[in-house]
Subunit: 335 residues, 2 copies
DNA sequence: CTGAAAGCGCTTACAG
DNA sequence: CTGAAAGCGCTTACAG
């Protein structure tokens, strides 16, 4: 493969001149410049990113995306939305995208990545926030952005919807349409920020409308269909089963509906609202709180790029994006 | 950040000795070696991958995954399955994973990647095969593996299911349960290998069982729900509508069922078999041809690793993986 | 068994 | 306006 040396020789100039011309820097005569460009094209020269990275900032132009290991905790639709958003903004800036996930072995993997120079910045979509890793990144003054509200004690840039508010609004709309027995099923363990925020919005809505908060109406789930079934069964076994449910994920909501069907009940027997929207929720006709994951990913990556472009430590920024409540056939007033 | 120079100084040895010790090479005294290792730990030294890559093979230890742009043509479940498979094998070998997709601007992006030294090998999951890119990769003797049967004229390693055979078997099982009017809806345009292979298996099954092949029973779709609806509407408008259908994707199959429902028909009105299996197909109760995407991804990456480890040109290998036919409630005998 | 030196492909002051 | 030189962080023959 051709190197810059070959290009210089082919064009009959010095290596430095070739570098300048190829990067559009310096003040070369138009003639020399085009002579060099032509030589590069003739040899189909592509710069070696490693050498370039080594000599500039010791980094390669790559953004790293950290997501949960596929198959756990989140819907593939969400994952792909994120990757597509990050990838789009990254590629606009001629950045590559590196994908990795937490492996349960602790955050050391992320730090390896950072120190090896393979990435210039990181975006995180990790439900359980690892404070220690973030602290270390802060100490290193390494650029990163969270696609979620940061955990207590971490000062950094982030982009997210207001989960508590979205949950509050959804609960209120159920109350307003006459429901008084409303259940909540979390998308993940309660120590996950997203679970806690949504739970507190739900609770707040009940209390501010003079409805009792009852723990037996709360189920702790994970992202899959089974956990939706379990939640529904738990709720149906109560003396006074809820008439409305807020599901933590599409698959959970589907599980709830399946559970209803298994008992020979209509899927509109209960009012069901799910977090996250997808073709799935649409085709099942499930009312959904649309979290604009793709937009969150894009905005996060934009913040990251801004931060990378600014070598000095700058103030973290945060963006709160609005969630949209989409009413479909599972939104039924109390009967 | 600490460099190898710092480590050498801290341990009181030469840079060469430090390099040897850190890489477990050369013959150093046990004492010197551990002295160096300890110094590295004390400084929390992480080697700079760029420098290392530059000096060894001009490449960084990264595998590139090329998939279609998210949101087009394929189910996120499939995409995540692939990423998870590639990532798992890659990380076993301490490789990073770089994600990219075709952008419709031609394959030059891939070649940039290759020549920049960012990846040591590529795995492709691309329905429409770009012969020119593959030829160039062959010329460069650059390691890559396809997660699909290669197109005509490309000689390379690949891993795939036998789509024609899977389609044949599914069609035969419909014939055996009494269907004579069987429709086929492709997952993509017909010039995609996967569409063509499945179509030819379907056609072959009909012909070898003395059933006529009728073009009005064939619909050309894409991966989404709408195309399933369209296909069903096309078929239902025929004088003799099919009694059984083979769908190209889960979403297509769901579209077919939705279309049935919209007309007030039971979803078991028709026998429906879908390609690809997912929680979706499971929860809808759609009979499915399970394509082990995750396994395909893993095996492909293993082949790639083998190829990378072997600097000399070696013979391409191919692996055909069996598809599994899973019968669910949409598999109904002819009425 | 260990050290000094060359070199991977590039960029960036610095001379001229 | 252009060239010679140093250097990014590492590894690998090659001396000793």
């Amino acid at each position: 493969m051709a190197t810059i040396k070959d290009v210089a020789k082919e064009a009959g100039v010095s290596i430095a001149a070739a570098s300048l011309a190829l990067n559009g820097k310096g003040s070369l005569s138009e003639e020399t410049r085009s002579k060099i460009i032509e030589a590069a094209e003739r040899l189909s020269y592509k710069p070696n990113a490693l050498a370039k990275g080594l000599v500039t900032n010791n980094k390669i132009n790559t953004v790293g995306v950290i997501i949960p290991k596929p198959g756990t905790e989140f819907l593939p639709f969400v994952g792909m939305d994120i990757l597509s958003g990050v990838g789009e903004v990254a590629s606009e800036k001629k950045y590559n995208m590196l994908l990795d996930w937490e492996d349960g072995l602790g955050g050391s993997k992320v730090l390896d990545l950072v120190q090896s120079g393979i990435v210039r910045g990181l975006v995180f979509f990790v439900p359980l926030n690892d404070v220690k890793t973030f602290r270390t990144l802060n100490d290193l003054n390494f650029p990163y952005v969270l696609m979620s509200r940061p955990p207590e004690g971490v000062y950094c840039s982030w982009v997210d919807v207001d989960n508590a508010d979205a949950s509050y609004q959804a609960t209120v709309s159920l109350i307003k349409s006459g429901h008084t027995r409303i259940a909540y099923s979390s998308p993940a363990p309660m120590d996950y920020l997203v679970s806690g925020d949504r739970h507190s919005g739900y609770r707040q809505a009940l209390l501010s409308h003079n409805l009792a908060y009852d723990e037996s109406y709360v189920s702790i789930g994970d992202g899959d269909i089974q956990s939706g079934k379990r939640a529904m069964e738990q709720f149906l076994s109560l003396n006074e089963p809820p008439t409305a449910l807020i599901a933590g994920s599409n698959l959970q909501a589907i599980g709830m509906i399946e559970s209803l069907k298994e008992r020979g009940l209509d899927h509109r027997e209960k009012a069901i609202i799910t977090f996250d929207d997808s073709p799935l929720a649409e085709s099942y006709g499930i009312s959904a709180i649309h979290i604009p994951t793709n937009l969150i990913a894009k905005e996060s990556t934009r913040l990251l790029m801004k931060r990378i472009a600014n070598p000095r430590r700058i103030e973290p920024e945060s963006i709160v994006i609005g969630a949209e409540f989409i009413i479909r056939s599972t939104f039924v007033p109390v009967r």
